[in-house]
Amino acid sequence: MNSAQIEIQLIASVVAIACAIPGTFLVLRKMAMISDAISHSILPGIVIGFFITHDLNSPLLILLAALTGIITVILVEYIQKTGLVKEDTAIGLVFPALFSIGVILIAKNANDVHLDVDAVLLGELAFAPFDRLLIGETDLGPKSLWIIGTILLITVTLLIAFFKELKVSTFDKGLAASLGFSPAIIHYGLMSVASVTTVGAFDAVGAILVVALMIAPAATAYLLTTDLKKMLLLAIGFGVFGAISGYWFAHWLDASISGSITTMLGLLFLVVYLFAPNKGLISVMYREKQQRIEVSLLTFLLHLKNHDEIEERHVNHLNEHINWRKVRSKVVLDLALKNNMIHIDTNIVSLTEKGNKFTSQAIDYIITNEDAQIEHMKDDFFLFRG
């Protein structure tokens, strides 16, 4: 690895961490689309800032762009509050309008502006190491690393200082307000951080990847944990993983780095979505299948409990009586036998003592549905697990 390669991976990783932190809260607040809106509508801020400073890395430009980000949020909320349209429609109205102002501004001044729409949308990480921060003769490294590094430092400081406030206002706005933690201040604080991060990351990775880096790692982490701190750490980890693996994927394909990082993040989400232990698709399907079998078992046991007549309990007649196909009857019969719930005597099925007790408790549970009282059943019987 040469130093440029290391620098690119470092920038991509720092951007990923800086995005994952506000991204986690955006996902939990169901505001993922707001990051998309911000990432597009900061364009006029960037363009106007660029006209004034002629420097893509100027702090004024970052400030102006962040301001457009906040204006986006305010406009979306304002339109939404009129009650005439829903939030998604409001977002869809605001950001294309602002974005197109930026596009027109670029097109009108295309000759003397080193800024084009492609670069804005996709960014170009490969060029990031060329723009150096020089003080006198000393080379302090790529400028974008310093910018996003500073933003990350601010974000982490704010996160540590206001973690409890962010948590309570995200979970329960009403409680936060009644405790004196103004949800509006926290909301706009978070929106400011998201805007500043977007602007800082934008130059390096472009508008689309910023959204991917904010939302995909957080959404992936959400599938894996039930603890907010772990969710933040996982999101950060996934972001960095996407950044580095994406870089090498691009290297191997000789393709766009930002595109490859986004692809890796998408693949990572897909894998977790399929294989996550509790919320994953496969685990959910397995659980549903288990539940189907268990409900069938209970139906079968109830049938036995309700009928003393021998003809109702004959193995060969069970499918007629409960109206099941042979395979299902056999699975259920085997399961009941294996768990010592029933015994079969000359093809007549009867409940064992254990089966009888289980069935009574299960009926009790279904009728009263008082969770606290059947808490022990969840351990005793597989039916109520999970």
Binding site: F162, D172, G174, L175, A177, S178, L179, T226, D371, A372
Partner: protein
């Protein structure tokens, strides 16, 4: 009776999009009562609580808690929002939610420590949920979630408790457990204001009642004013409820 006034509401008017949901409310809640706020859907019951707690901004009127504005008396007040107002899939545990009740006394930036954790565990014990402390909150039943909310209010160690439909969607056991805790709090001299839906249980659970339907219809002791006349005025139809003696 010469009792202190815990909560005083003067000329309160609250509107959503210029449509008043509460109209010129005057209300005095004496210290130490267990009060139900009753009224039909859309009567502004939750809005009244939220306005007293400064969550909603009224367009007119004022509120005081023991003679001072709410902002100065936050620590005297605990709030139990409607269970449906939060996302129970949020990645957190029962204990963590109860700990949130301590955030108000901590103020900005300061973090909860052992003392706050101990208080939260005690509150969980009181509502019979200690064994669920590490349970992810969406793994709890509706009744258990409501108990967690109650524990979170208990940990605030307030003088006045506002509760928005604490009996909604809970099983009978939880309802009894909750009302027993509320009665205990009243015995300890606390004031409790509860948005309540089930008119049948008002005389059994509460000693004070406010009838509300955009305007205040009546407020006072249950034994004096909980009658068919006020019910009819509040609910608009000939309302009869059999009050058991």
């Amino acid at each position: 009776m010469g009792k202190k006034i815990a909560v005083k509401v003067d000329d309160l008017t609250v509107a959503y999009n210029y449509k008043p949901v509460l109209w010129d409310i005057d209300l005095e809640i004496p210290e130490g009562v267990l009060m139900a706020i009753v009224g039909p859907n859309g009567a502004g019951k939750s809005t009244l609580i939220k306005s007293i707690l400064g969550i909603l901004k009224p367009i007119a009127g004022s509120v005081s808690i023991y003679g001072k504005p709410y902002e100065k008396q936050r620590k005297l007040v605990a709030y139990v929002p409607q269970k449906g107002s939060v996302d129970w899939d949020f990645p957190t545990t029962a204990l963590d939610v109860v700990m949130m009740g301590t955030y108000g006394s901590l103020g900005w930036i300061k973090r909860p420590r052992q003392k706050e954790k101990k208080a939260a565990l005690e509150a969980l014990e009181k509502v019979g949920m200690l064994s669920f402390k590490n349970r992810q909150i969406n793994q709890l039943s509706g009744g258990q979630q409501q108990r967690i909310f109650l524990a979170r209010a208990l940990v605030q160690n307030a003088s006045i408790y506002f509760m928005d439909e604490p009996f909604q969607g809970v099983d009978a056991t939880t309802e009894i457990a909750i009302i027993n805790i509320l009665k205990e709090l009243r015995k300890a001299g606390k004031t409790l204001i509860v948005v309540h839906h089930d008119l049948q249980t008002v005389p059994e659970y509460f000693d004070w009642v406010t009838f509300l339907n955009v305007k205040k219809i009546a407020t006072g002791p249950v034994k004096d004013i909980f009658n068919d006349d006020n019910l009819t005025k509040t609910y608009g139809i000939n309302y009869k409820v059999s009050v058991q003696e």
